[in-house]
Symmetry: C2
Subunit: 142 residues, 2 copies
């Protein structure tokens, strides 16, 4: 697995969405903590826990190669020295397609580890209503 150090939770989050856009499983798993205490809920899906379940789900999701772009909006951050919680809305679009795709609300939790900041929780669920345009101003409370 590629060793990448994420100096901040924002760096880890940027890499998470980069991995999603590039359908890069190794980068995706480099974002996640190597601990067994990791939790992932994909939109509409069950709660997955531990390395095996989380990796298998991303392998399946990324296997087809996504072409979707992801724009994150409405970010709310609860930031501490060792833990960061980001609440975001994920707005997907496929280049060349005008049809809007359903947005996702996500809770992302990052821990500061000896190897930089890593994701320990990703909980996504479908956002009701029309998708946001990427031009929306991010909402940062903190």
């Amino acid at each position: 697995m590629a060793t990448r150090i994420f100096p901040t939770a924002q760096d880890a989050e940027a890499a998470f969405y980069e991995a999603l856009e590039r359908a890069d499983l190794e980068l995706m798993m480099a974002v996640w903590s190597e601990d067994e205490d990791i939790v992932c809920v994909h939109p509409g899906g069950p709660r997955l826990a531990g390395q095996d379940q989380v990796r298998a789900s991303w392998r399946q999701i990324l296997a087809g190669g996504t072409r979707a772009r992801v724009q994150v909006s409405q970010q709310v951050m609860i930031a501490g020295p060792m833990v960061a919680v980001h609440s975001v809305q994920e707005n997907f679009s496929v280049p060349g397609e005008t049809r809007s795709m359903p947005a996702v609300v996500a809770t992302n939790v990052y821990l500061r580890t000896a190897a930089g900041w890593r994701m320990v929780v990703h909980h996504g669920s479908p956002a009701p209503g029309p998708a946001e345009t990427p031009r929306d101003t991010p909402k940062i409370l903190h």
Copy 2:
């Protein structure tokens, strides 16, 4: 608002589900942090942020008076000195009704504040598949 101190994140979580079962808005809001940086996603709902949105949503949900019992299973805890993240499955039942209700997977985040442990994030989404029986053994990895 009633002042209740929750010495641990587990105490805050127990009070959260007690408030849900008793449809007790004041207890519910006593569980939440008094900060503006709070986030709540109800199953199938949008991302709500801040005191006003979160309180209004619980007022609406609890207004009718719930009769449902909630059993929590499959708990995974990521516990630090100042932040605790709990991933759980919420299994609902109504006394006297045999029909099973859809389960919910929830990510609950608690912060240790000057006034004890308080909830800052609740993200719930429908769990696919049949609901669990309350007899399932909780899964605690940590």
